[in-house]
Amino acid sequence: SAVISQKPSRDICQRGTSLTIQCQVDSQVTMMFWYRQQPGQSLTLIATANQGSEATYESGFVIDKFPISRPNLTFSTLTVSNMSPEDSSIYLCSAEYRANGYTFGSGTRLTVV
């Protein structure tokens, strides 16, 4: 099955700073997705990242706060900008593999202090 590597696995950051999360997929995929899982809650889709075009953001999420890059078919980054404690969450990368549904990375546990 597909493998998604995500890093860092966790980080503690100062408020006002930014963190870039990297997601590497072991085969080419058209769509990659970024989710947020806040403590005790379910997964919320932040945006969908296509290679060669701008990411599509869900309601409540904006590019200035969560800029996304998708330079090729196996890699994407999500940046959490100008962080506040409310951004403390687990951020997950996902990709669609038709035969296997959607595969997820191991997540990045972000704590903002």
Binding site: M31, F33, Q41, S42, L43, T44, L45, T48, E58, L92, S94, E96, N100, G101, Y102, T103, F104, G105, S106, G107
Partner: protein, 113 residues
């Protein structure tokens, strides 16, 4: 817009008990349905999926789910749970033709030895 409801937020069972976790979705068109599991400290893993065909799908570790279209349901079952099944279980739906996957709020299963 599609939505998913998981009515059981926290379930406690003894080993060897039977399990059924409810999942209902709302969407008028054709859907793909998924159950994901998140073991403590680990990332999301696909348990099983329904795309089309036999509405009774079998997944890993003895889990199965039945898609009942008339009830918009996709309940997860296992005849005899084990302590190692302690985890959080997420139901998810994806409208065919759209990339967005919507997750339920999750059910925490605790199996007591």
């Amino acid at each position: 817009a599609q939505s998913v409801s998981q009515h059981n937020h926290h379930v406690i069972l003894s080993e060897a008990a039977s399990l059924e976790l409810g999942c209902n979705y709302s969407y008028g068109g054709t859907v793909n349905l998924f159950w994901y599991v998140q073991y403590p400290g680990q990332h999301l893993q696909l348990l099983l999926k329904y795309f089309s065909g036999d509405p009774l799908v079998k997944g890993i570790k003895g889990f199965e789910a039945e898609f009942i279209k008339s009830k918009f349901s996709f309940n997860l079952r296992k005849p005899s749970v084990q302590w190692s099944d302690t985890a959080e279980y997420f139901c998810a739906v994806n409208a065919v033709g759209y990339q967005k996957v919507t997750f339920g709020t999750g059910t925490k299963l605790q199996v007591i030895p």
